[in-house]
Amino acid sequence: MTATGVGVAILGSGGIAREHAAALARLPGVEVRYVVGGDLARSRGVAALAPGAVATTDLERALADPAVQGVDVCGVTPLHAPLTIRAARAGKHVHVEKPAALSMAGLHEMIAEVRARRLTLMTGQTVRFQPGVAALHRAVAAGEIGAVHLLRVGWYTGYVWAGGWRGWQLDPARSGGHPVHNGTHAFDLLVWLMRDRRPTRVFVRSFRTLSPDVPVPDSFHATVRFDDGSLALVELSYALRERGASLRRVLAVGDRGTLRHEDDGDSGLHSEAARAPSASVDGAIGAQMAHWAAVLRGETEPITTPRQMCLTLATALAAQRSLVTGRAVDVPEAADVR
């Protein structure tokens, strides 16, 4: 590793690990040194995307390597907290895929471990790096519409989780349920755009379109109330019939203006030969990994703060409880950290 370069280890060998490996391999000065996973053949496939990366099942080998500054925790959600804690105890900065954990206790322990060692912790909130969302946040942060008090986030897509039928994503005990597994993106966006105001109450309703008996509904919506009375409405649906279809609409209403972003007016490819990502979401993972590399080089702080991670996860967990119980659920204040 050069003096200005950084070495990383990727823990996991699934779809997200593949995307991260490919994105990290494209970044100058970043060396993917290890891909660690229980299935060596799959890990080799991921490592092949990053020249020089070693596929291994030996986590300790990767954590003991002084050339590794950062650990990217991918893989199944139940392992996020224990792997983050192990990496932190080995002195590594951590990027953890969303959702950061399956419990507030787990997340609080993760935060405590990295803070105790003056390390950094970043959650993989990829949506923040989508061009449309990033522009929206820049405008809000610049005060273009004053204080935001009403948010509406609607994301409909035609997409089914790869391998989902046999996958752990359909087990709420392992994924946290849809509000935690994917809703985390939307709840994080609310917290980010509301400038860290605290969600206090959430109500969720869901429906199943793709298959009536799966334990995780393909679509849900949530209302969120914040501690200053501000309101938000979130809708997530994977139920569009056409694969790859997208219908996104975000409204941010402030006391001095309103911002709207929709993807139905994007420049786009219309061809029988191929589909291209919507221009307003394209390139997000590359930007996310570039940001993490900058964090590892000490050039910037992680885009996700510990407080935002806590507010987001607490809201998502409350949302899942609401989905199951059919009742509005208070977001516990104790979930917050400063």
């Binding site: 009403l150 509406r152 919506h221 009375g229 649906s237 019939r241 409204l251 209403v253 203006g257």
Partner: protein, 354 residues
């Protein structure tokens, strides 16, 4: 009823009467016989009604104790919302057809009483609504044709432009003072999204969760009423709906009010945007958008009024009747109960009848 022309009396002339009267008068099938008030009208309402008659150049017929004394086929009740139900019942009791401005009533008890009165009366009862607007009609046709399969979820935004509050609402108290309006913007506006949702799905709301807040406007704070709300609805057949509704400083449209909707179905989805299709003009004043369907809200009312006139002249019951008006109030009632309890609340049973 005169065979050729529908004789229309305005009973009270507050707020929307100023736009409804010219629309009706422009219809060659309509004769405006005058504007009257209720004997119990407060001074401000009476002066508003007199002013309407004067500005429209139609007779002011005073405050008759017996509406049957005035020769009219249709009575348009256009008072402050808190008097809607009582005045409508008076006009029904006089044997007239009645069109009442929205909201149908300001409480479920009033709505139930009015619906019962309509069931007993010889005349018909209808409520101002926007379901004849081109955008919502197109969407309904697509749903009816089966193009999206079974509707599973509907999302509606209905936002009013606070920047036009002063010019669009003559007296803010008419929408923020519960003594006149009966509630806040939930009562004022939610009836429209409920109409759209019922119209597009054919399903009745059975449970409502509502979060309300006073986020933007001082008059709303002063009177302790909400300016904004987000809602989750459960409908029959397991259909769900979401609503974002209220008055915001700058709605994402150039008109006083606008709505958009999305319907997810088992075999497709559709979108509705009152502002589109449109012709965009770029000039010194920036972007101006001219919707091809015209100014949606006023166009929706104009088309509804025209349909109502045609129905009444043909001796047919209006397509939008008291059961529809009652259903909107029942959802508003559940929404206010939910906002107070912080939990989802059931909608009072009794909707349907379409």
């Amino acid at each position: 009823m005169s065979a050729e022309r529908l004789r229309v009396l305005f009973l009270s002339g507050v707020r929307h009467a100023g736009s409804y009267l010219p629309m009706l008068r422009a219809d060659p099938r309509v004769e405006i016989v005058g504007v009257a008030e209720d004997p119990g009208a407060a001074g401000r309402a009476l002066s508003d009604t007199r002013a309407l008659a004067a500005s429209a150049g139609v007779p002011f017929l005073g405050c008759p104790g017996d509406l049957a004394e005035i020769e009219a086929d249709l009575v348009v009740v256009c008072s402050e919302p808190v008097r809607h139900a009582r005045l409508a019942e008076r006009a029904l009791a006089a044997g007239r057809h009645v069109l009442v401005d929205k909201p149908f009533a300001v409480s479920l008890a009033e709505a139930t009483s009015l619906r019962s009165a309509a069931d007993r009366a010889p005349g018909s009862l209808s409520v101002v609504n926007l379901l004849r607007g081109p955008a919502i009609r197109r969407a309904r046709e697509w749903v009816d044709a089966g193009h999206i399969g079974l509707p599973r979820h509907v999302d509606v935004e209905f936002l009013s432009n606070g920047a036009m509050f002063a010019s669009n609402v003559e007296r803010p108290e008419l929408v923020v003072d519960p003594a006149l309006a009966g509630g806040g913007e939930l009562l004022n506006f939610l009836v429209y999204p409920v109409d759209y949702i019922r119209h597009l799905t054919g399903c009745e709301p059975v449970e409502v969760y509502a979060e309300t807040a006073t986020l933007f406007f001082e008059p709303h704070r002063r009177f302790g009423v909400e300016d904004t709300a987000v809602l989750s609805l459960l409908l029959t057949n397991g259909v769900t709906a979401t609503v974002t509704v209220g008055r915001v400083p700058y709605a994402p449209a150039q008109t006083p009010t606008f709505f958009t909707a999305r319907v997810l179905g088992s075999h497709g989805h559709l979108t509705v945007d009152e502002d589109r299709p449109a012709l965009d003009r770029f000039g010194p004043g920036g972007l101006e958008r001219w919707p091809l369907d015209g100014a949606a809200a006023s166009e929706g009312v104009r088309l509804f009024l025209g349909t109502l006139v045609g129905d009444l002249l043909a001796g047919q019951a209006p397509g939008y009747g008291p059961a529809d008006g009652w259903a909107t109030v029942a959802v508003v009632d559940a929404a206010y109960r939910s906002a107070a309890s912080g939990q989802p609340e059931p909608v009072a049973p009794g909707a349907g009848g379409r």
